[in-house]
């Protein structure tokens, strides 16, 4: 079938525009006082940095935009942030949490 051929691993790069599919829910869990990502048969606990990144994953911003935005906000080197969030988004993409 064609889909077998067309389905490929998404590789995150500076120009990727990541977003969360509608069936992935980033929510604050008030009872436990933390953020959670609800996904099929999975619950992830993102830390503050991951939450900051994921909130910017709107399908419009590129990874480079997100890195620049966070670098400005946290006064951190953009290259370092860019490498970190690209790796994180690649991991989440491989787990089906983020698409691009």
């Amino acid at each position: 079938m064609t889909e077998t051929i067309t389905r490929k691993r998404t590789m995150m790069g500076a120009d990727s525009r990541p977003s969360l599919p509608k069936y992935i829910k980033l929510r604050h869990d008030p009872g436990r006082g933390r953020w959670v990502i609800l996904a099929p048969e999975r619950v992830f606990n993102p830390d503050d940095t991951a939450v900051a990144v994921l909130k910017l994953c709107d399908g419009t911003r590129t990874v480079a935009d997100i890195a620049a935005s966070l670098a400005a906000e946290y006064s951190a080197p953009v290259d370092e942030i860019s490498a970190d969030i690209t790796a994180m988004l690649q991991d989440l993409s491989d787990k089906g949490v983020v698409t691009a």
Binding site: M1, E3, T4, R7, K8, R9, T10, P21, K22, Y23, I24, K25, R27, D29, G31, R32, R34, V36, L38, A39, P40, E41, R42, V43, F44, N45, P46, D47, T49, A50, V53, A83, D84, I85, A87, M88, D91, S93, D94, K95, G96
Partner: protein, 407 residues
């Protein structure tokens, strides 16, 4: 990033895994999330089902339709779950779509902030109904397949034409933008199809597949001699899963549930008794796991009489084997006691008569060798005919006998 995974109704755990660290996310204590409230709630909405799979996880004594909770009672359960801090619910059965009020229950669950997973065989769904469920707030559809080969699938489920219908259902799920998991229960009569079933899941656009070896409780225990694969077949399938994981990295998530008869250590059943999962039966009995009623001396509360929070925190059956205090040796002094929690209480009870014994799946159990031998012998003998899952079905057929002749 910590990951609580997978929250399965298949008694396969782990519910809470060790924290994982990443370049951005920091490792934290993964246990805290489970402590105050269940993370997942399995709702067996009905025991009615058009399929008759011989490995069904429902109890041998199926609950009748006239004992099922009402729409309002299930809706109240959803509201209570949301308030308590349950994050995900799994609507199961039997076949949950047999309930005509499924949309109403889904809608209330969605309004209560719950992540909603529908566990279905799909054979009675229509495009219109699927649309209504999506509109009501359904997030994820977990569709079972019995085999890739249609005739064998029909034989296993005792249902004609299931596979063709499932191919329609997966299209609707994708069109509606819902998450899709293919759930493939594996046993000796379909284990050769593992690669083909993974290919099917990739082909239909699933984000995830569960290659779920049958767990031997209830109907599956009754049918164990017909279902148990040989160790060689299991090892081959395990290699195929590893190869597929490499081949389809980033394309599909492959979760594998192993048959514990061939394991060295037991599974952390339900991620630990009463630790992260709660199960509600069609009539409202609240259980720490869906097989818990097989431990005959336990008494269970009903959601019609008590609040979910009360039952979860203080119910006798929940307190009984929660944590590690109840353990005997070799569990009590075992360094793995908070990794696998002594395995499965139901299996310990069924095979040793004492639920506080070590699960015979554990190599430290005195019964382990004898237990593994059963799998070895049964898997190499000719499989007896299935005892199909149907009301009264378990009573009409004698227990399967192991035939000495090899296959």
């Amino acid at each position: 990033m910590n990951e609580i995974t997978p929250i399965k109704p298949t008694q396969s755990g782990p519910t809470c895994t060790a924290p994982m660290s990443g370049p951005v996310s920091q490792a934290e204590d993964g246990q805290a999330l489970c402590a105050r409230a269940p993370v997942g709630m399995l709702c067996e909405l009905t025991h009615r089902c058009p399929l008759q799979c011989p490995y069904c996880s429902n109890p041998l004594e199926l609950e009748r339709v006239n004992t099922e909770l009402t729409t309002e009672q299930w809706q109240d359960v959803m509201r209570q779950a949301g308030e308590l801090g349950v994050l995900q619910i799994h609507l199961s059965g039997g076949e949950p779509t047999a309930r005509k009020d499924l949309e109403d229950i889904v809608k209330t669950a969605s309004e209560s902030g719950l992540y909603i997973n529908l566990i279905t065989a799909g054979v009675t769904l229509t495009r219109e109904r699927m649309g209504k469920l999506a509109e009501a707030g359904l997030d994820h559809v977990q569709l079972s397949i019995q085999d890739i080969e249609p005739e064998n699938a029909d034989r296993i489920a005792a249902y004609k034409g299931g596979m063709a219908k499932k191919r329609e259902v997966v299209k609707w799920v994708k069109e509606l933008g819902l998450a899709l998991t293919i759930n493939a229960p594996i046993h000796r009569q379909n284990i050769n199809s593992v690669p083909a079933m993974i290919d099917f899941a990739v082909e239909v656009g699933a984000g995830r597949i569960e290659v779920a070896h049958v767990q031997y409780y209830a109907w599956a225990l009754l049918n164990r001699a017909s279902l148990m694969p040989t160790k060689e077949a299991f090892m081959k399938a395990a290699r195929q899963v590893e190869e597929a994981r490499e081949k389809f990295k980033g394309v599909i998530v492959i979760d594998a549930v192993v048959p514990d008869y061939y394991a060295k250590f037991p599974k952390p059943c339900m991620g630990g008794w009463a630790r992260g999962i709660v199960n509600i039966t069609p009539s409202g009995r609240v259980l720490p796991c869906h097989a818990a009623e097989s431990i005959t001396h336990l008494a269970f509360d009903n959601i019609k009489d008590k609040k979910l929070a009360d039952i979860w925190l203080y119910g006798d059956a929940f307190q009984k084997y929660r944590g590690t205090e109840w353990m005997k040796e070799p569990c009590r002094s075992c360094p793995r006691k908070e990794i696998d929690f002594g395995g499965c209480r139901c299996q310990a009870f069924a095979l040793t008569g004492d639920a506080t014994n070590t699960d015979p799946a554990c190599s430290l159990s005195p019964l382990h060798a004898q237990w593994a031998k059963v799998a070895e012998e049964e898997s190499h003998s000719a499989p007896p005919a299935f005892v199909y899952r149907r009301v009264g079905g378990a009573k009409t057929v004698p227990a399967p006998e192991t035939e000495p002749s090899g296959v």
